[in-house]
């Protein structure tokens, strides 16, 4: 049953390591492709980087955006614009009063290319050479600001920051905007462009990156016993969310509903999840309650699973704690095995995957799991997609971020 202020998904857009748009990204995910590759530059030698690969974007924005757009947007904004334009067109470019249209697009890190390029310019050439667009390019709300300009979104433009949960939190906030009547349509998602030697060195310093330099495509392996860290990725995903009432009135195609949002914070450690998974369980429980569904309704979870030793297992433990025996009926997918970790873009891309999974009744695979971790507590979709049941179904996307941020979104069939 659908109520007027229910939130439905009517448009999808993405640019990722797997493809330059949402359909090609989804097709590559179902095919079990990896977006990781050896970096085609001299960073490893120049900076002694211990990591020589990443999941770089498949289609350069310069192939899609105009030259002036490229020059005045940080790459994080470029990716968001590509994804937002696709999502908007995919939704049928809805006729909506600007005051009823919102935008929520997050980045976990912000315009770091612009920040660091600006610093290089200052050091090497002085303040006279600093470009006037530097501040509007580096600010973390730049992606959403440009999206709001593009679409004329005047109900509010927001950029919530919660590290690797940012993209999911953006979608959660957009849901609230629609439910509370502040907007009828909201363009929401996440973006990240951090494949730059400084953040790679910084993540490597925190010992969170995979060092499998000799085999990049096999490096991201959530739940495999030999996982050794995440693969840094880049890109953006954007969804068009709409009140069910508004979508019905214009006869829009509906992919699925965002039926529940659950948020929590660990207040445990700046980077490590609470080993008991208390915050993760709370986020998922709140999301299910918000959606008015139970654990028995959940058929699929898109895991946050980044391919780190501790994080992956904490999450399956949390799922088992919350769902108990019902977790046996869950098809768990760790799509970062293919996309790498898009950081602030991850939660949006994985929500997009959960939406497509529910719509097409197909859970995407987890690749590279040669030897599943014996402590894995939930059935894992490996190598090829798994069919999801017919009828009313519910999926959950989990996204967790450094700082102890937990976001769970419930995606329900339309």
């Amino acid at each position: 049953m659908t109520a007027a202020r229910d939130v439905v998904v009517t448009g999808l857009g993405a640019t990722t390591p797997l493809g330059g748009d949402a359909p090609s990204t989804w097709a590559a995910a179902l095919a079990g492709e990896s977006g990781a590759r050896t970096l085609d530059n001299d960073w490893a030698e120049k900076y002694e980087l211990p990591v020589t690969f990443a999941a770089t974007i498949k289609v350069a924005p310069s192939e899609v955006l105009s030259r002036p757009e490229i020059k005045r947007m940080d790459p994080s904004t470029q990716y968001a614009m590509v994804a937002a334009r696709e999502a908007w067109a995919d939704a049928g470019s809805p006729e909506v009063d600007g005051e009823r249209l919102g935008a929520v697009v997050s980045s976990g890190i912000g315009g770091i290319w612009t920040t660091l390029d600006g610093w290089d310019t200052l050091k090497e050439r002085g303040a006279r050479r600093m470009l006037p667009m530097t501040v509007p390019m580096l600010m973390p709300n730049s992606p959403v600001a440009y999206v709001s300009l593009e679409l004329g979104a005047q109900a509010g433009a927001h950029a919530l920051v919660s590290a690797c949960a940012s993209g999911a939190e953006a979608i959660g906030y957009a849901v609230d905007m629609i439910r509370t009547g502040r907007a009828d349509v909201v363009v929401a998602g996440g973006t990240e462009a951090t494949i730059h030697p400084m953040p790679i060195a910084a993540f490597a310093a925190s010992r969170t990156l995979s060092l499998r330099n000799d085999d990049p495509q096999r490096a991201s392996r959530p739940y495999d016993v030999d996982r050794d860290g995440f693969v840094i990725g880049e890109g953006a995903a954007v969804l068009v969310l709409e009140s069910a009432e508004h979508a019905a009135a214009r006869g829009a195609r509906v992919y699925a509903k965002i039926a529940g949002v659950g948020l929590s914070s660990d207040a445990y450690h700046i980077t490590s999840p609470d080993p008991e998974g208390k915050g993760q369980v709370a986020a998922m429980r709140r999301a299910l309650e918000d959606a008015q569904v139970t654990g028995a309704d959940v058929v699929h979870v898109n895991a946050h699973a980044t391919s780190t030793k501790v994080g992956d297992l904490t999450e399956t433990k949390s799922i088992r704690t919350l769902l108990g025996a019902e977790a046996d009926h869950v098809q768990l997918s760790a799509t970062k095995s293919m996309t790498g970790h898009l950081l602030g873009g991850a939660g949006a891309l994985e929500t997009l995957f959960a939406v497509k999974a529910v719509q097409e009744r197909l859970a995407p695979p987890t690749i590279n799991v040669d030897n599943p971790d014996p402590e894995l507590q939930v059935p894992l979709v490996r190598n090829t997609p798994e069919k999801l049941p017919d009828g009313d179904i519910v999926a959950v996307n989990n996204s967790f971020g450094f700082g102890g941020h937990n976001v769970a979104l419930v995606v329900a069939s339309a």
Binding site: R67, P68, R129, M130, P132, M133
Partner: protein
Amino acid sequence: MANTEQEILEGLAEIVAEETGLPTDAVVPEKSFTDDLDIDSLSMMTIVTHAEDKFGVRIPDEEVKNLTTVGDAVKFIAGAQG
């Protein structure tokens, strides 16, 4: 090394085209940056920064407001290179 006014015009047109997406042949001496080419103040300062770099001159902020047309800018740069 001084450029001819024609070289400065061509170089400036390339900078304006990069910044605005306009074709280089739209950037002619009689065009006004704001009224004809729709260049806002931030874009104007970006063009100035690139022009200083390209032509090896200094265009002081107080001078920029006097550069109404493309031709004004070409003349100023030529004079500054003098």
